[in-house]
Structures are given as C-alpha cells and as structure tokens.
Symmetry: C2
Subunit: 213 residues, 2 copies
C-alpha cells in the first residue's frame, strides 16, 4: 500500500494490523490465510491480533468494510456534478483510481462478494456479510442510476441495463487484479491507467459524445 488512505480512520495500532491483514488476504485469500501469517507479517504473535479482533472473520470484515468506505468516499466527491454523463465519467475515474490505490482492501471486498454469491457463510458471519453486500449493492445502484439518466438522454446506448452495469464495474475494477505498482510511481501514472479503463468502459456503453478528456 502506498500512501494508505485509511490512516486517519482508526488509531494507528489497529490500522497497522488491518493493513497487513489486507495484504495477506490479497496474497493468499481469506481461507488460506492463517492468523499466524498476519502476525508474522506484523512481526508479532497472534496475541496482539486477538486483543483487537474477536475472530479471523471479524478481522476480514473490518478490512472489507474499510474497502467499501474508500469507494463510497471516492464517488461522493462527484455528487456536485450536474450533467449525468460528466458525473458518470468522474465517478468512473474515482472508482478506478480507488481500485488501484486501495488494492488490498478491494480484494477483501471482492472475496466477500464472492463468498456471498457462493452462499458459503457461517451464521455468525451472516449479518456482517449481509451488511457488506448491502453496502456494495447501494454503491452499485448509484452507478446504475446515473447510467440510466445518461441513457435516457441518448448519451449512452446498451441493451440490458443489468449486464451493462456488471460490465462497467468489472472493467473499472479490474486494475485491482492486473495493475502492478512500479517503483517510482506517481499519481499521474495511476491516473493514466484509470483513464484508459474509463474510456474503455464508457465507449463500451456506446458513449455518444466522443469521449473527451
């Protein structure tokens, strides 16, 4: 993680645990990550982790929830833009950038969503997972709404709205899987990547106003 935006949400002791946990969950996945793995990455024993987090699931959901907070915060900054198409483009860029800059946390979100699709949850996890999915759905709905507004104006054209939204979000989120941070990477580098994702997605939705920058 570079310039981790979670710095100022919780006290630093817990944030360091969450940061390393996010890295472990990204590298090996939830099921294959042991608490000892996280402790090893922290350079301590699991006693420290269990002092702050009741269970491995608790730790995982804390990571994923932070990931969704990043996303909501990212697109909130676009609310003031009046024109639907412009707002959508700004949201898309913010989302794609968020995927790059908070990769580890977003992998936890992704795994959580997959867990839900699989229906593989224990009763104790269910409430927490349901809340995460609700947050994800709500987030997704914001995109759907602004997409539909743009379509009504004839600025987008696509047959099925549900599929279009999936394709849009998958494309915009995909950097979290294939983006490799370089050594002396700048914000500008990241923006350039995110922009290509945005152009791809908007063109894919049949953007009428040729995608201007």
């Amino acid at each position: 993680m570079n310039g981790d935006p979670a710095e100022n949400l919780l006290d630093e002791g817990q944030m360091e645990i969450l940061r390393m946990a996010a890295l472990c969950f990204m590298e090996r996945g939830f099921a294959a990550t042991s608490i000892d793995d996280v402790a090893r990455k922290l350079g301590c024993t699991k006693g420290r982790i269990y002092h702050f987090f009741a269970s491995k699931a608790d730790l995982f959901f804390s990571v994923a929830e932070i990931g969704m907070e990043f996303n909501h915060k990212a697109i909130r900054s676009c609310e003031h833009i009046a024109a639907p198409f412009d707002r959508l483009r700004a949201m898309a860029l913010a989302h794609s950038l968020s995927m790059i800059e908070t990769r580890a946390y977003q992998h936890a979100v992704w795994q959580g969503v997959e867990l839900h699709l699989r229906g593989a949850t224990t009763p104790e996890q269910r409430n927490r997972l349901d809340a995460l999915i609700a947050s994800r759905d709500q987030y997704s709905d914001v995109f759907r709404d602004v997409m539909e507004q743009a379509r009504e104006r004839g600025e987008l054209t696509y047959p099925d709205a549900g599929i279009a939204r999936q394709l849009m979000l998958v494309a915009l989120s995909s950097p979290m899987f294939w983006y490799k941070p370089r050594d002396a990477e700048t914000l500008d580098d990241r923006i350039k990547v995110a922009r290509q994702c945005v152009d791809f997605a908007l063109s894919g939705l049949g953007a009428r106003p040729p995608v201007k920058r």
Copy 2:
C-alpha cells in the same frame, strides 16, 4: 454444468469426480474446499477420489487444465477467418460463450492464475501451475496478436496494448462471475448475453467499423 463439453475427454468415472470438484471449487474456493466436500457431493467417500487423484492439488489442476482446453478449443474454430477484425469478434464470442458454458472449470483457471500472481505455491505444485500459466499466456497472446493486427489496420484504437488486452479479456470473462443460468435456458439466451459482452469490449477498444452483427 449444462451439456458438459468435457464428457468425451476422459472416462466417465474420473469425469464425474472432476465435474463435482469443479463445482465445489467454484462454490467455496480451492482452500476452503475439503476432499470430503467433493466426496459428499459425489455421494461417496474420499477413498474413491484418492484412487484417481494423488492429492487435492492434483485434482484442482486437472480441473483447471480442462478449463483451458475448453478455451483453446473454442477459439481454434475461428482460425479460418481471414479478416483480423472479424476473427477477433468471432474469438471474443467463442470465449465469452465458453465462460458461460464451462463456468465451474473457468473459476478454477481463475483461481490458479491468482495463485500464481500471489506466488503462493508449494514446490510440488509449481511445475503444474507454471504450465497452466503458460497455457493461459499463450491463449492471451492469440488475442493480443489479432488485436494488434486490427489496430494496424485502423479498425481498433487504444493507447496501451497491454492494458487493452486485460480490459478486453476481463470484460469477456466476467460472465463467469455474474451470469446466473435460468431454468429453461437456451443456447440463444447465452448467445445474447455473450454478444452484449462482445459489443461492449469491441466498442471499448474503439472499434471503427460500427459493431455490426
């Protein structure tokens, strides 16, 4: 799995195991799936599984390799098409359809690729995994090559070829994550979905010849 295309590759006894294993790996992921889970889905005990497969990893890689075979076979049927753009479109449709129709196996491929990116492999798995990744890279290169041919002809426009290929394949593969097979589903239903993915991806790549069907 519906009309499973793996039917005629191995003898039916092993194929049934692989089919159920693919389902389990899709539902819970590799790490969270136990051999007993697979056995339970088969309605037998793990003795039967270990008679044919040396280890859980062996079972998993067998599933993933079959998944890649499906893909290679799918795009091989497009080789005869001369015009790059038309060939690309046919390949894209074949790929997207393959993702829908062999979902379970493709989830194993995906997990294998992620395992590789994470570098989380035991020495014994490494060779098998390396081969899987090589197969995936080779497959991916076929797309890259035909994309570049179309770009040279001015039929596609995108800034970075590497990113474009990732976006293309992610969009085309995404149905394996969100496609929900319906009850009385026909081939035509699947084709309709795949087509929207193809149109999205090609338009996203700046297809000049307005995507005709």
